[in-house]
């Protein structure tokens, strides 16, 4: 009878004990989650990652379990993960991982508040609450500072063209996070009214929108070449250029605030080129 009671107690407490225990073995299946875990000191909990988890440098040495085309379920299970953090549940292999008992945690922040909440959530999940809270506090202060600066200048004055890609010319539209970032930095995305996330636009549309500055996410592209191209159409001296490492702006992780700082600097500082830190 005694044993029976003990067993019952243990069985009743078991699920509670499970959920309270920090997750020891995590698959970071999206780069921003990987960066968040590193930033809160939980890097030791990451057992595997996807191809494009490349920051910080040591993340490149993590075992790889997939890429943008999908997750290799066998490779993932061999690492005995407790949980996997994903951006999009529809990636191939995720459902199967879930069926095999891996806890799937979705993280797809679409604004700064959501980024902060996700950092806190990961702190709670891995037992690094204190460091997560400290990081979020610091980031909130930086965001306040950036917003204060933008308000001083009066937002929407600087017209920004964000050249996501040049062949064909792609940009960020209204629903895109980039448009919100440009606004936070004190600028106005010239294609903010387009209802598509990443519209294909043409040279004519850019000429008509009269951008003050063209932001070029520098990803295997030649800045000089883009400068020559746009100066031909917009006139030399009519437009400034700035290159920013796209990982800082396209990943909703702990470095986003750094990207926003660089963006603001590029918008308000008239020195032509702002190169991001590598």
């Amino acid at each position: 009878m005694k044993y029976f009671r003990l067993c019952c107690t243990v069985l009743c407490l078991w699920p509670g004990m499970l959920s309270a225990a920090p997750l020891e073995r995590i698959l970071a299946l999206t780069p921003h989650a990987c960066e968040m875990l590193y930033a809160i000191g939980a890097s030791a909990n990451i057992v595997g990652a996807v191809d494009y988890c490349d920051y910080p440098e040591s993340a490149t040495h993590l075992p790889r379990v997939g890429g943008y085309t999908g997750i290799n379920v066998e490779a993932a299970l061999r690492l005995h993960p407790d949980a996997a953090i994903v951006m999009n549940r529809n990636v191939k292999g995720i459902t199967q991982l879930e069926k095999m008992g891996v806890k799937i945690i979705s993280s797809n922040p679409v604004d700064f508040e959501a980024v902060f909440q996700d950092i806190l959530r990961m702190g709670a999940l891995t037992g690094h609450e204190l460091k997560a809270k400290a990081l979020v506090h610091k980031q909130r202060l930086s965001l306040e500072r950036i917003r204060h600066f933008s308000n001083q200048f009066g937002a929407d004055k600087i017209r920004v063209f964000y050249e996501l890609w040049h062949d064909p010319i792609m940009t960020a539209g209204g629903p895109s996070f980039i448009t919100a970032l440009i606004k936070e930095a004190g600028g106005y995305n010239i294609f903010a009214d387009v209802g598509l996330e990443t519209p294909h636009v043409n040279v004519e549309a850019v000429i008509r929108a009269h951008p003050d500055i063209i932001i070029i996410p520098l990803e295997k592209r030649n800045l000089k070449e883009r400068q020559v191209f746009w100066e031909h159409w917009l006139g030399k001296g009519n437009v400034r250029f700035a290159a920013i490492n796209p990982d800082l702006l396209h990943r909703p992780g702990p470095r986003l605030i750094e990207g926003l700082e660089l963006l603001q600097q590029a918008l308000h500082d008239s020195s032509v080129l702002v190169q991001s830190r590598p």
Partner: protein, 308 residues
């Protein structure tokens, strides 16, 4: 009378294509920024659309005679597949280069053509069969390459495959010259084509060297297709339907069908591209979608109206 109307349509579409866009510009009275947009951006793009559309329609007309099949079109023998595979392999080898997709597409198209040439002596049906199988092979190669392509390249690859006139690497003058040369070659062959349409035996009985004619025709049609694909990616539908449409309007003599197709294909692609850059301006749609959306209703309407 028909030709006069046709010519007027061409003129009207040219003027319309220049005038529409994100903002209306009067082509007869443009200055400053409008003039730059009109003559340096819209005009070259419009002429590229005209030449590419015309070339595709000509190639379609030739393939339909060559293969004796109304469903034939410029891409039926796998040239589009091999060109796409070539473009994507170029993108894989040198992801940073601007020209690499066009060069890759051109080489790929010719690899596809050479493969088809091996089967050109087999007669229409077998050649068609070989071409369709080759097309399946190329699309498998393309799928393999796309699976291996790094993420950044995917978008570029897809937009190329859907057809895009916004950034042609080939000079407009070259395309227009090719249009003229192709049309002249086509007209020189038009009598033989009419005879070939009656059947190979009839053609041979009338003293035509069918084998040589077929080889020439295959080379000509393929070369034209390769050029069009290199300039603008794979734009579907124009090459299939324009020749049929022109036969409905002008009868089946190639003396009339070929020039009509060369112009009609150009007109359709100019219209489609004008719509592509206007409908959701300042954003753009892929032009390949619009060729079908504009062309299908017109074609079906004529099909119902005209007796067979």
């Amino acid at each position: 009378m028909k030709w006069l109307l046709f010519g007027l349509t061409l003129l009207a579409v040219c003027v319309f294509g220049l005038a529409v866009g994100q903002q209306w510009i009067n082509p007869f009275d443009a200055s400053g920024q409008d003039a730059v947009i009109l003559w340096e951006l819209r005009l070259p793009r419009l002429l590229t659309a005209f030449a590419v559309g015309g070339l595709l329609a000509l190639a379609g007309a030739w393939f339909q005679v060559l293969l004796g099949n109304p469903l034939a079109e410029p891409y039926v023998l796998g040239v589009a597949g091999s060109a796409s595979a070539g473009a994507v392999s170029g993108l894989m080898l040198m992801p940073d280069s601007a020209w690499v997709m066009s060069i890759g597409a051109f080489i790929g198209a010719w690899v596809g053509i050479v493969c088809v040439m091996f089967f050109s002596h087999l007669g229409a049906n077998r050649m068609l069969l070989a071409g369709v199988v080759l097309a399946a092979f190329w699309s498998a190669v393309l799928a393999l390459l796309l699976a291996l392509l790094p993420e950044q390249g995917l978008f570029r690859a897809f937009s190329w495959m859907m057809g895009d006139l916004s950034h042609s690497d080939l000079p407009v003058s070259l395309l227009l010259l090719a249009w003229v040369v192709a049309l002249v070659c086509g007209l020189l062959l038009s009598r033989s084509l009419d005879v070939l349409l009656l059947g190979e035996r009839h053609a041979e009985a009338l003293g035509i060297d069918v084998k040589r004619l077929r080889q020439r025709l295959l080379l000509l049609a393929s070369a034209v297709t390769a050029l069009a694909v290199t300039a603008a990616g794979t734009i579907g539908f124009v090459g299939l339907v324009i020749p049929h449409l022109m036969r409905l309007l002008f009868g089946s003599l190639h003396r009339a069908v070929l020039p009509a197709s060369a112009i009609g294909g150009g007109v359709l692609l100019m219209l489609a591209d004008s719509a592509a850059r206007t409908v959701i301006a300042p954003a753009e749609l892929p032009v390949g979608i619009l060729t079908a959306i504009i062309g299908v209703p017109v074609f079906l309407f004529l099909l119902l109206r005209r007796p067979t």
